[in-house]
């Protein structure tokens, strides 16, 4: 169900009418305040609302319709071919330049192309600019011409609506003439007619003459239906006075509206609101002269319920925190499990100490048996070792004697051994008396000839 909030100004009174329904609308509330329709009055009208939809109507289905007075517009009937919109606009502009006395640039316009009796509605841009601040503040969904709304409401709510007729809607000292052909609005014109002047017969005759001239222009005859729609009781009286001038006018009888208690005249007064509501239907079209200046923009809001995403986010956050807390507790538990009793810890430390001491001994103790086996002159006859000096951190020194030059062979033998390096033979001395050669050798044995600090890691 749609909620329509229709706001319009009629006979010096601002109306805010709340309607509800779908295709068929019922009036739920009518609040009116005297004065001009501006933002202050509109705010007061909203504050006055007391009904079920009163006050600030927050329903998402609500549509605000801002009705504006037809007296500000100028209408022209012209012949327009049925073309696409882009081309049509240029055609309309060319025709407007020929017909209208005002430059096209100063006018906002809209049209309804229906062959030879296409209707063009124009309005001064200057007037539109004056309305924009209020419109942008209240953001109405649609800005609709009141006259068009009345014509549309007549078709829907009249007891016996005529598809071919002329509606005379009298309001604000203006008789608005709305010509319907085949149920479509094809002509609009306003005729100034003050209710005070109606007491004067001369004035009545003038109005009658003016009206008859327009009837002639529109090709109306005695059989044509001319329907009176007075916007107030006073204007109803004015119409009756016109009838005295032998104008054949038919009264407008509306269907019984299924809504709050409204008398017939009140229903006629609120006819623009009903028309506004009808023109909000998607299939309906209306003269949108504000189209280049004001477009209702809906702030893109999150249409779904925020509860679920927020709840999901909070749940995810809780899960993450829970996970971290669980991990923390597990680490804490592992740490406690690793922290042993002092006695066991002491035992473990002792074992560690033993292992470290074993490692130290292994790294510090040379294999002296292997060393002696390495330096033995195996299979070399005549070589006798007389002195062996082994000291950790120093080169090994070997002295010996030989009866011939076998020390070379001995040296070559030593050189074959990979445990020894830097083997140096010091000048052999031959002793003639003993017929022997004394020799001495120095070399490095594994890493033991290096200093203690540099030895670590070599062995």
């Amino acid at each position: 169900m749609k909620i329509i909030e229709s706001v319009f100004h009629l006979n010096g009174v601002c109306h805010r009418v709340l309607l509800s329904g779908n295709a068929q609308f019922t009036i739920q509330e009518d609040i009116s305040l005297p004065g001009e329709l501006n933002s202050d009055t509109f705010r007061k009208l909203r504050e006055e609302g007391k009904g079920p939809f009163g006050g600030e109507v927050n329903q998402k289905e609500k549509q605000l319709i801002w009705g504006f007075d037809s007296t500000h517009v100028m209408t022209t009937t012209m012949e327009l071919p049925e073309q696409d919109h882009a081309e049509m606009e240029s055609i309309v502009k060319i025709q407007m330049e020929n017909i209208l006395p005002v430059p096209v640039e100063e006018l906002a316009f809209h049209w309804r192309a229906s062959g030879p009796q296409s209707l063009l509605v124009t309005i001064k841009k200057k007037w539109i600019t004056g309305q924009l601040d209020t419109l942008r503040h209240y953001k109405p969904n649609k800005v609709i011409l009141n006259g068009e709304a009345v014509a549309r409401a007549y078709q829907e709510y009249a007891q016996k609506p005529h598809n071919d007729c002329l509606l005379l809607w009298w309001h604000d000292d203006t008789i608005e003439m709305l010509r319907l052909k085949k149920g479509q609005l094809v002509f609009m014109r306003c005729l100034h007619a003050e209710k005070e002047e109606m007491s004067s017969e001369i004035s009545r005759e003038h109005i009658k003459e003016d009206l008859l001239a327009i009837f002639d222009e529109l090709g109306l005859n005695k059989q044509s239906q001319i329907i009176m729609i007075p916007s107030s009781a006073e204007y109803a009286q004015c119409f009756s006075m016109l009838e005295y001038s032998r104008l054949e006018l038919s009264p407008c009888h509306l269907k019984k509206l299924d809504n709050i208690e409204l008398d017939h005249q009140k229903q006629l007064t609120l006819l623009p609101a009903l028309g506004h509501a009808l023109l909000t239907e998607p299939k309906e079209s209306y003269f949108n002269v504000f189209r280049d200046h004001y477009t209702h923009s809906v702030k893109k809001q999150f249409s779904g319920n925020l509860y679920y995403p927020v709840a999901l986010f909070a749940l995810a956050l809780l899960c993450i925190l829970g996970y971290y807390y669980l991990e923390y507790q597990l680490d804490l538990k592992k740490l406690k499990a690793l922290q042993l009793e002092p006695e066991i810890q002491k035992q473990l430390d002792e074992k560690q100490r033993v292992q470290n001491y074993q490692k130290l001994l292994i790294s510090e103790r040379p294999d002296i048996i292997d060393f002696i086996q390495v330096i033995q002159p195996k299979g070399i006859r005549g070589v006798t070792l007389t002195e062996v000096q082994f000291k950790k951190g120093q080169q090994v020194k070997i002295s010996g004697t030989t009866k011939n030059d076998e020390y070379y062979k001995y040296m070559e033998e030593l050189q074959k051994n990979k445990s020894l390096s830097n083997i140096t033979l010091h000048t052999p001395v031959y002793n003639k008396q003993k017929r022997m050669t004394s020799f001495s050798l120095t070399f490095k044995y594994k890493g033991w000839s290096q200093k203690a600090k540099s030895r670590r890691g070599v062995l």
Binding site: L335, Y357, R365, E387, Q389
Partner: protein, 172 residues
């Protein structure tokens, strides 16, 4: 107060609350957690080294015992000197080697948990006995290592050698 103002206040409170929560709760908690993880890792490494149930640790210990079967953990200096001297003397005696001199000649500075004491002995013996001595030295549980060995053939008595041995032992 409009709903926009309310939203702004709620958002401000949430942001401020989050900052304070992070500063006073989350950050200290995470740093405490880091300490726990560090301590846990250290202990885990230590436990891996001494885990007697682990086959790799068992193999390591077996290898160490094979390489170094006879040893005793160092005592204090006084006790260690006595034990070392006694054991070396016993070993020499057992091999019927009469030492000309046997005594400690000095000690090194503490390197790590232990200090090194050097025991020097001088004796004359047949070469075969020296080899026997070098072989049994490994059985001395107080022996640190052989630091210095000087073997010289006795010019007077063929088959005998003058030996100067410096052996070390560790003490606390």
């Amino acid at each position: 107060m409009s709903s926009r103002d309310k939203r702004a206040i709620i958002l401000t409170v949430l942001v401020c609350g989050s900052i304070l929560f992070n500063h006073y709760v989350l950050t200290p908690w995470f740093s405490h957690w880091e300490e726990i993880i560090e301590e846990k890792d250290q202990l885990s490494k230590k436990m891996k080294k001494v885990n007697l149930g682990s086959s790799s640790v068992k193999a390591k210990i077996a290898a160490l015992n094979k390489k170094m079967p006879h040893f005793k953990l160092p005592e204090n200096e006084h006790a260690q000197r006595h034990l070392m001297h006694k054991k070396v003397s016993e070993q020499l005696k057992k091999l019927r080697i009469k030492a000309d001199r046997i005594g400690f000649i000095g000690s090194s500075k503490k390197d790590g948990p232990y200090r090194k004491l050097n025991l020097q002995s001088q004796f004359i013996c047949p070469l075969a006995q020296l080899f026997d001595l070098l072989a049994v030295l490994e059985d001395n549980p107080y022996l640190g290592s052989l630091e210095d060995m000087n073997i010289r053939v006795d010019p007077k008595e063929r088959g005998k050698v003058w030996v100067t041995l410096t052996l070390s032992t560790y003490c606390l």
